[in-house]
């Protein structure tokens, strides 16, 4: 019985160590210029701000993750990026349940807030307006991009239809990274 108590106490100390370490790291990263792989960061400061004509976002086809900052909270995170018909999109899964919305709170914030965001790709920042896409044929292109880049690279019609259905059902939220009207 005594050995069980000792093991439980040691496990408790280990759990406390990891919990405090992770919480401290998250706190430490909160104002950084951009996120780390594990933790959100603060506002995106460095990098040249893009001006001029709207780019063709197909150049992101080979880019796995970008940095996305929401202006409402000045917080940034690493996120997948999709492109379809020359436009850029981001998606957020697991949005049909409480834990998913808690985990992917940025998507809730983008949907319910102003949607103003800054995107950083490489050393260039882009001011964007996040616009949620609920339905439409554009979702086929978004789904094709997700499947091709992040789900094995074989965008079969069934896989595309399945991902589009997930978006239209509300399980996955898709946002267009549209140019800001005031820029």
């Amino acid at each position: 019985m005594k050995i069980v108590k000792i093991v439980a106490q040691v496990l408790g100390l280990v759990v406390i160590f990891f919990a405090v370490a992770m919480a401290t790291l998250r706190f430490e990263h909160r104002n950084n210029d951009g996120p780390s792989i594990l933790f959100p960061g603060g506002a995106l400061v460095s990098g040249e701000l893009h001006t001029g004509p709207e780019p063709d976002w197909s150049f992101t086809a080979d880019i796995q993750t970008i940095e996305l900052e929401l202006d409402d909270s000045d917080s940034s995170r690493l996120i997948w990026i999709q492109n379809a018909d020359g436009k850029a999109y981001v998606v957020s899964g697991y949005m049909d349940n409480f834990l998913g919305r808690l985990w992917k709170h940025w998507a809730v914030e983008a949907d319910e807030g102003s949607g103003r965001a800054v995107l950083r790709v490489g050393d260039t920042r882009y001011e964007r307006q996040l616009i949620r896409i609920h339905e439409g044929d554009v979702l086929d292109g978004v789904a094709e991009s997700v499947v091709r880049k992040y789900m094995g690279g074989n965008p079969t019609p069934e896989a595309i239809a399945g991902f589009r259905a997930a978006i239209e059902s509300g399980n996955t939220w898709a946002f267009e990274l549209a140019p800001r009207g005031d820029s």
């Binding site: 000792i6 408790g12 100390l13 919480a23 401290t24 790291l25 430490e28 780390s36």
Partner: protein, 44 residues
């Protein structure tokens, strides 16, 4: 270990861990690197 001593140990571990992460150079980077290595090794 008595309950009182155990609770003191827990508080000490928490405080020392937080201070080390915040103020000892390299500790937070090393810990994050270890976590990333674990995740990249074990992620399915």
């Amino acid at each position: 270990m008595s309950m009182r001593n155990y609770l003191i140990s827990c508080a000490a571990v928490a405080v020392v861990t937080a201070l080390a992460m915040l103020f000892v150079p390299g500790v937070s980077e090393a810990f994050e690197g270890i976590v990333l290595l674990f995740l990249s090794t074990n992620a399915s």
